[in-house]
Symmetry: C2
Subunit: 336 residues, 2 copies
């Protein structure tokens, strides 16, 4: 299929400014005959059509990529939306596409059906993917192009880009072991969370390979909120002195901050008396007391890769990589 022809590309080919092309094609100014000729020739050679809707009608493509995100509650923040949208938008633009974002209503896929049936998008990037994800099964069944940012059921074969959460927890926990910690606790997500299970698996793996035991009391599972991180850490720090963890790894920075508050209540100086590591590298985490050691996800690369793979699929090509796993990195500051 032909790439999107823009006024910009016509201007570039004709060697004149965007404004000149726009005004000449809209009959708003007079220019030298040879300039006009050059512009019309460039437009014709590139197959430029002034109205994108008319063009879409001809090609039967919307040149739109649907993307839905899970809106956060007003007192929380989506740490990755800006970076993820920005990187997707730049990559999409380079391929002649725009994004069509819509809020994701967990468990409902009518928006997806409708966008397909009305021809408003040519493909989807989906995020906040979980086990038995209805969007994955719908899009696989409809054979509609999509890329998931995240994995789902292990038996389902579909294109995805994901961050290696297990690898992230191996790095964080391994760092604590190297510092001499032997009793390490975890602020983890519920057992029905696919992302949470991926991360905690890395935690158990590295402890096992180091020959360290994990007391089941040291694993707290709950929502990724400040409140849960705070209450869970209070319980962990309430254990007898020689049985309580000397270090905590949290599955999110927000939970880790709850842990820092609980430690202060116990008169513990974080970084000296207890080590705490987060996950996200939220921009504010560098300004905490103490600055938070955490795991940073390559969000921009993930957004770029999702669109790159999707563009191949929308063109009917086999993508170079169908399963992309990106490595997160450990950002060491003074909380651990």
């Amino acid at each position: 299929m032909a790439p999107l022809v823009t006024l910009k590309s016509v201007a570039s080919r004709a060697g004149v400014s965007y404004q000149t092309v726009s005004k000449v094609l809209n009959g708003q100014i007079q220019v030298a005959p040879e300039t006009r000729e050059r512009i019309l020739k460039a437009a014709e050679e590139l197959g430029y059509r002034p109205n994108q809707i008319a063009r879409n009608m001809r090609t039967q493509r919307s040149l739109m990529i649907g993307y839905s995100w899970l809106p956060t509650s007003p007192n929380q923040i989506n740490q990755i939306l800006d970076q993820f949208l920005t990187s997707m938008a730049y990559e999409a633009e380079a391929a002649g596409y725009h994004l069509l974002p819509f809020p994701f209503r967990n468990g409902h896929v009518d928006d997806y059906r409708e966008l397909i049936d009305t021809g408003r998008v040519d493909g989807f990037v989906i995020s906040s993917v979980e086990y038995d994800d209805l969007r994955v099964s719908l899009l696989m069944e409809r054979k509609f192009p999509f890329v998931a940012f995240g994995r789902s059921n292990s038996g389902w074969d579909f294109p995805y880009v994901d961050v290696d959460g297990a690898g992230g927890l191996r790095k964080a926990t391994g760092y604590l072991i190297k510092q001499g910690h032997r009793r390490i606790g975890a602020l983890a997500w519920p057992e029905d969370s696919r992302v949470g299970n991926d991360r905690i698996a890395g935690f158990f793996e590295i402890l096992q390979s180091a020959g360290l035991e994990v007391d089941p009391r040291w694993i707290e599972r709950g929502e990724g909120t400040f409140e849960f991180g705070y209450q869970a850490s209070r319980r962990l720090l309430g254990l007898p002195l020689d049985e309580r963890p000397t270090a905590l790894v949290a599955m999110s920075d927000t939970m880790a901050i709850g842990g820092i508050h609980a430690a202060r209540e116990h008169q513990l100086e974080v970084g000296r008396d207890i080590a705490i590591i987060g996950f996200d590298d939220a921009p504010m985490s560098q300004y905490l007391f103490p600055p938070l050691t955490t795991i940073r996800q390559p969000i921009r690369e993930a957004g770029r890769k999702c669109v790159e793979v999707l563009v191949s699929l929308m063109k009917g090509e086999e993508p170079a990589e169908k399963h992309v796993l990106l490595s997160p990195s450990l950002i060491t500051r003074s909380s651990a």
Copy 2:
């Protein structure tokens, strides 16, 4: 113009499920003749057309709203993007529109020209508005429907929704005056910032009406970063004891956090030895030591209002309100 007719509305009118309508209209299942009849009648009465592109061709509308945002640098965070996008998307959806977001390249408006010329959007919401904003002058000149989230040059008349930043600073500064502070400093934005000037005007107004002097050394102007807030506060706290401010108001939470770090270096306990107030109510601000007193902007209402006004304009109607000014609120915690 007719509202967008969706499969959902056909299903609702016919009293059957979305899936049934979809499958019947696509010839994928057999249903009872009276059910089929009811669906076809509902589709016809509502004017449902299965392909949105074909429908756009007929109505010459894209049913898209362009929105560009200024991507933040990787170590900063856009405090409002999620809330603003969510509220716009819900309001747009209710009116039959979708959003088309694209990254804003400061000072460049070719993306805007191209989206208009190719008919890909029916209107714009613009944000990060400044003095002499090229987008405002372009869209006014093209008489293309748009609503600005923010004001620009006072002589330009165009539809906007804005938060009353001056009112916010009056609340913050007035609160400090009531607590007995007489030497109040400000971490302000550069003089070419329209939003910054709006906010600082409220600061001067309320001090003047309280008969309090402002030493010019107490006003620091710079970027809204942690680093600037930190360095500026170090300078302010370096003034002789009886000449230095006892309270600081910052134009952003990030600057305020820089101020908290500088105060700790000076062995000052924030909230007791010095008062600091931010602006934004960033989600993390509630978890700081001490939790930050700050100004919260009604972002969801702003997003909703922008789309509401724009939808009127796109329909060729006069909007009920062309200039909307929303009041921010003071969130008191323990930093002041």
